[in-house]
Symmetry: C2
Subunit: 223 residues, 2 copies
DNA sequence: CCGTAAATGTCGTCG
DNA sequence: CGACGACGTTTACGG
């Protein structure tokens, strides 16, 4: 990893064209070949960058000069360097990598254990019920024995309603299942998604993750 | 901007939980308060980070110690530092910012100016025509006076066709507008999107941004 | 500040 | 290699 602080201007010509006027910035060159240009704000996102695989060509005359970064698609990041204020390289080695523990999978697991969240007398037919266009998160039966397809998202947006709609269309072609109702479940459901769901006859359920987790965790129980 | 190379392990507790085993990494502290942890790969994306606004607390004993970064939501990034190999700070000042060209907004602006791109005699009714489920990019009339809804994307994919389909369904409920036709315009349209659009009776138009821009820019005109 | 759509999205997985 | 969905999406824009 190489860290360069330099006064520079930058041009990107690729999927779009972009220009950065002369200013002092951080140029970050990683071992994977990527180059990114950071200002002192905008959180972790660089002002400009080139993702690997790409090639960095340096043309330097006494500190000032030009970096040209090119990828296979012919996109170019051109960094015109006026003055180098700091230039430091360091070997980091391979990173052991990140261990993540996601929320959506957990949400599905908890709801599968507690389908009564959707209504009294509900039972789980199957989690990840397979169809030709992908698995339905939960297939249930309500108290009347009617089949219900449940789509679970952490954040409920319009795309999720579309996805559930496609599943319902497919499931309703199966005479053994039809008529199949739909439930859209998420920690938070956007107004637009609610409108579309209602328009399609799909019920929306907002799920409280903490409560659900509490239901699952004996140490969290109130009684 | 502060650049620290350190042997560290990292834990994030927030929207998910994540852990990074001990290794040498770059810790990037920006003037906006953000902290990000970079390995020597994964392009510009950090392994872990905290976005501003947040607060960094340092507890150090002879180089080793703990950084605790907290935001308002109570999310925490905890960096346990084993050894600091490099620590360098630099004043960058405010960045003049990025000038972009060629994004969807630009494409929409140009097409609004040149609806004849879609056909002779076409007129613009309104840009960003409002509906209950969001604004239609362009509402036009063709040479016969028929209403046409135009959805514009930089890259035309299935989602865009779905979006336009929803608009058409809604607009066609309005007896003052119906029947409304659809046009899907993009610099590049994926085959799948074309197939779906055709199936829905939606016309596809591939737009040449350079030509359109040339039409707009007198200095670029050939005649 | 909330809601919505775009993004050089990026990053996995799976066919 | 391309399509599809998730992302701690992030970011910009408009009400």
């Amino acid at each position: 990893m190489r860290l360069v602080i330099a006064r520079c201007s930058v041009d990107y010509i690729g999927r779009l064209t972009a220009h950065l006027p002369l200013a002092t910035r951080l140029l970050l060159v990683k071992a994977d070949g990527s180059v990114s240009v950071h200002a002192d704000d905008r959180a972790y996102k660089p002002l400009n960058w080139m993702s690997p695989p790409c090639r960095l060509e340096e043309q330097l005359d006494d500190g000032s000069g030009t970096w040209t970064v090119t990828n296979k698609a012919g996109e170019q990041l051109i960094i015109t360097i006026d003055e180098v204020l700091h230039d430091h390289a360091h070997e980091l080695g391979v990173d052991p990598g990140l261990q993540k523990d996601g929320v959506e999978a957990e949400l599905q697991r908890l709801l599968a254990l507690h389908v009564e969240t959707f209504g009294q007398g509900w039972t789980l037919v199957r989690r990840e019920y397979p169809t030709a266009i992908g698995p339905v998160d939960l297939l249930c039966r309500d108290a009347d024995g009617k089949v219900v397809a449940v789509e679970i998202k952490r954040r409920g947006e319009i795309d999720g309603v579309e996805q559930l709609t496609r599943y319902l269309e497919l499931l309703n072609r199966d005479p053994l299942l039809a008529p199949v109702k739909g439930v859209f479940a998420a920690q938070e459901i956007k107004p637009q998604a609610k409108v579309l769901a209602q328009d399609r006859g799909i019920d929306c359920v907002t799920v409280d993750y903490a409560v659900l987790k509490g239901t699952d965790d004996p140490t969290q129980r109130l009684f």
